[in-house]
Symmetry: C2
Subunit: 246 residues, 2 copies
Amino acid sequence: MRNIKVILQYEGTKYQGWQRQDHTGNTVQGKLEALLTKMCGKKVEVTGSGRTDAGVHAYGQVANFHTETQMSLEEIMDYMNRYLPEDIAVIHIEEMPERFHSRLNAKGKTYVYRVINSKVPHIFDRRYVYAVEEDLDMEAMKRAARLLCGTHDFRAFTSHKRSRKSTVRTVDSIEIEKNGDEILFTFKGDGFLYHMVRIMMGTLLEAGTHKRNEAQVKGLLEAGTREEAGYLAPAKGLALVEVFYS
Amino acid sequence: MRNIKVILQYEGTKYQGWQRQDHTGNTVQGKLEALLTKMCGKKVEVTGSGRTDAGVHAYGQVANFHTETQMSLEEIMDYMNRYLPEDIAVIHIEEMPERFHSRLNAKGKTYVYRVINSKVPHIFDRRYVYAVEEDLDMEAMKRAARLLCGTHDFRAFTSHKRSRKSTVRTVDSIEIEKNGDEILFTFKGDGFLYHMVRIMMGTLLEAGTHKRNEAQVKGLLEAGTREEAGYLAPAKGLALVEVFYS
């Protein structure tokens, strides 16, 4: 069996997220599996580095699948790009050792969140950005972001109900850069809980409009609950940019 | 009467072009006139710097309209951006002398045409680029582009049937730049005939794949017909970028 790794881009707008669903299921994983099963004439399962929520985009999602096909890597990539929907693309392909697993071997991820801070719409990017009209205080957001970095229990920053799994994660960095009307938030970490980046974003934006101060952000990490954290920022501003492997 | 000039952006995908049509009419001009007529409580006509075809985008279309409204420029711009469809935006507004006419006073225009020269789709830009898989010879396209510059009779480069109007135009420059997979074609001129940029693009792309040589391009300008010129490149790659006034 060959183990093929692909790097994928997709626009999340029309999908119910990455993960295949049993019944309905307009999902990215579902589209890939249907196509590869057809290509190989045999059921193919695709493993992703992790789920992305409905509406979230990917510039560099990593996935792998096992196949016995004799096709060359270039032929597989061309086939996929020819028959995948126009909002999904394979931008890289390579053959991996049998033990490579795109989720279990992932060591870290980078997400970006794009905000347009203006009353003037950016129409060409409107599917990929979140428009915020109120003035955002860059320094206040940067101070709040510094507090979120490091190893913490992020249970206040996930929409998952209490489970036995650890909610401790390490956020390596949160960079916030302004280019004209656009503010780009770049999150690097070893892994992110369900909705974690979007709740961090809601929290940072509330810091940026002075609805929330540093002490409150600190409190969330110490003994906070989901209800006390910021709002869930819209999916469309978020994109999975890169997955790191050792 | 006040004379208001606006600079507009729009994604052309869903529109039957700029120009209002009597019967059907999902047009940019139609949307603007309906909105401004509502805003002013009185019929408003909007004049554009020129038409853009169905599917063609604008980063900087210029239009003007007369109104007696007492609203401030900022209020007008905010109102328009709040109620226009999500694929049309006003990015600049100013008050002009009564005699300003966005079409008659236009001295020149810049259009860009975006080509992705790759088998790998650029999904996030797919509505704004034309994907060409065959290798394109940059030098051959640049040589052909140089021939098209200058003052010529461009009758072979328009889809309009013979009319009494002059088909002589001056193309000031055609720049062709490659950035990664993307090739950007920038056309500057005093004015362009119906379909002229898209037919020049089809001609340049045929030069780029060696289906057409320099002598043939030269011949088109001397005694060519529409049938002998290149194909009509798709609208979605084209955008009106800037309109110049003296």
